[in-house]
Structure formats: C-alpha cells, structure tokens
C-alpha cells in the first residue's frame, strides 16, 4: 500500500504544530518511547493529559468564581496543569499557564480571568489538532507509525 501521501500529510502537520509553537521537543521524546510493545503510547499519554487538564480547568474556573479567591490554590492548580502540559510537550499551554501563575502572584483577578480564557482556547485547539494528527497516524497502521524514523 502506498502511504507516501499520507506520510507527507502527517509530516507536514507535525511540522506545522512545531512551527506554530503548539508542541516542543518533548513531544518527539514521547514518540521515541513508542514501539511495538507500546504502540499507542503517545495517544494514550496525550489522552490522559486532556482528561487531567479538563478537570484542572474546571477546578480553576470554580476557584476563580469563589470569593475571596484563593490565589495560592489557583497557582497550585495552574502549576499542576503546567507540569503535565510540559510532560507532553504542549508548549503554548505551558506558556499560558506561566502567565496565569504570574497573575496569581500579582493577585490580579482580571488577569487570571483573561488568562483562563486563553488557556481554554489553547486547550481546545491543541486537543482538536492532536486528534486530527492521531487520526492520520491511525490510517498508516502500527508498522508505519514510528514517525521519527521517516527522515
């Protein structure tokens, strides 16, 4: 079967995710950990991230609505988010979390609110883009999936 078109699409999509700053080198590290014994590792760990981060976003939103706001807790939630985002190479997410944390330090409620909206947008965008990426990968099948070897 001729996968060359599909491969081109996948490579191009991955490149654009990197060029636009959605992903960083850590994502490559994840792909390198994928092999026959763990053929869906990247998709699995990314799924765990989105499950975990959705929960964190909800908790951050609730914590922002509570008065008086507990900036210490907000910072802690953003810190968890940032950590797991960084583990999967979600660069823009990580950076927006840093912004949020900075607003927490300043006890800047409005800044936190704006930042949360950005975080939610980045989260949704990244999720959609990665879903597309994994869908393409699934079409090539497990044997072909070691993207890093396509050089």
């Amino acid at each position: 079967m001729d996968y060359s078109n599909l491969r081109r699409q996948i490579i191009s999509m991955k490149k654009s995710l990197f060029d636009q700053g959605y992903l960083d080198e850590q994502f490559n590290q994840l792909e390198e950990l994928q092999d026959d014994s763990s053929p869906n590792f990247v998709e699995e760990v990314v799924a765990l991230f989105f499950k975990d981060s959705s929960r964190l976003l909800t908790n951050i939103e609730r914590a922002l609505e509570k008065y008086p706001q507990d900036f210490y807790r907000l910072d802690s939630l953003a810190h968890q988010f940032k950590g797991s985002g960084s583990s999967i190479g979600a660069l823009r997410m990580k950076n927006e979390c840093s912004m949020f944390k900075a607003h927490c330090s300043d006890r800047n409620l409005e800044g936190c609110r704006r930042s949360l909206q950005k975080m939610k947008r980045e989260h949704a965008t990244l999720k959609q883009k990665l879903e597309t990426y994994f869908q393409l990968l699934r079409q090539v099948g497990p044997r072909e999936r070691a993207v890093n070897s396509w050089k």
């Binding site: 390198e32 950990l33 763990s38 760990v45 991230f49 975990d52 968890q80 960084s86």
Partner: protein
C-alpha cells in the same frame, strides 16, 4: 528465550499526576526496569511496608510484601499531602528502607530545593520532563547501594535475628523479600534462577 544474568531491578515511582505516571512508567520499562507506580507518598510507604507513624519494620509482614524488593524509589517533589521531600525523610528515617536510593523529580529548578533534597539523602535530582537519557543515571545508584548492603549483610550475618528473614538459607537467591537487603547476588557475578518475573520488552 535467552537466560538473563540478572532479574530486572524494581523501581517504585511516585507521582500524583496521571500523565506523568504513565510517562515515568514508560521511561522505566523502556530502560528494562520493573515498575510499580503509586499516586501518593502515603501509598508509597504502604507499598514499602511502613504503616502509620511507626517507621520500624513491622513484626509480621504480609506474604505478598515479601515477594517484592524495591531497588530504587523515584518521586515527584510537589505532591499534595506528603511531598516528595517528606517521603524522602520518612524513607531515610526507616532502618529497613534507608539504603534504597531515592531520586527526586521536579518541574522547578530551585537550587535551595535541590540542595535540601540532596542533603536529606536523595541520590539524584531530575528536572522534569524526565527524559530517556536520565534513566541511565539510575542503575549506578542501585549498584552502589547494593554493594553497601552486601557489605552490611556480611558484617551482621551472625547476629542477624531479623524476623523478616527468608525461610531459605541466606546464601540462596531464589526468593525476593520485602527488605532489599536480602538480595545477595551482585551484578554480573552469578546467574540467578529465574523467578516469576517476566522481562519487559
């Protein structure tokens, strides 16, 4: 199947973040370690056989705990409740666990934090995200601690009346006990009879 010259080392990984747990597990398995993951310091202590405040070895150890030796503990620093640092302290305070090497992971590069951990007895500090190349730093710590352990064991062999002792004579290597001191084989020195453990490919 090739006969292995050693059973895989067993690492206990502690991290409250689910994606991070999956990642560290994969990193460790890829590096040929056997892995157990837990999501908190208190669960780690439970796994290691410490219950509650008492840090001395329990008088009667559950049979399933006797099967498990832990050769290294790797833990996240920032965790709710018991931090990685608190866990490190508890391990170092325990006579049965203090020789197990401990590695701390943290997403923050804070020199005072790193120093505090190293001073408390941590063997290594990894900045997150942890990478495959970091895994090669683990085995030397395990081997170093086992040399120390082997030496202590030889010194205390006569007076050792520890009730955790395996029923087999001390020279036998076929049983793994909860206390990692029971392992006598040195790396590359002898062929161990294979236990139930399967190698992770």
């Amino acid at each position: 199947m090739a006969v292995a010259t050693e059973t895989p080392f067993h690492v206990l990984a502690v991290d409250d973040s689910l994606p991070d747990r999956k990642l560290i597990e994969r990193l460790l398995k890829t590096s040929s370690f056997q892995v157990t993951t837990v999501d908190s310091g208190s669960k780690a202590l439970e796994f290691l056989g410490i219950h509650g405040e008492d840090s001395s070895p329990p008088v009667s150890v559950h049979a399933d705990q006797l099967e498990v030796a832990v050769n290294l503990i790797i833990t996240d620093y920032c965790m709710p409740g018991m931090t990685g640092y608190d866990l490190l302290k508890k391990i170092k305070e325990s006579t049965s666990l203090r020789d197990i090497p401990v590695v701390i992971m943290s997403s923050e590069n804070i020199p005072s934090r790193i120093n505090r951990c190293l001073e408390e007895g941590a063997d290594e500090f990894f900045l997150k995200p942890v990478r495959l190349s970091d895994m090669s730093k683990l085995k030397p710590h395990i081997l170093k601690s086992r040399c120390k352990e082997h030496y202590h064991q030889e010194q205390h062999q006569q007076s050792d009346s520890n009730s955790n002792e395996c029923s087999n004579p001390t020279n036998s290597n076929s049983n793994e006990c909860s206390n990692s001191r029971k392992r006598k084989a040195e790396d590359n020195e002898e062929v161990l009879p294979q236990t139930n453990r399967s190698r992770h490919s």
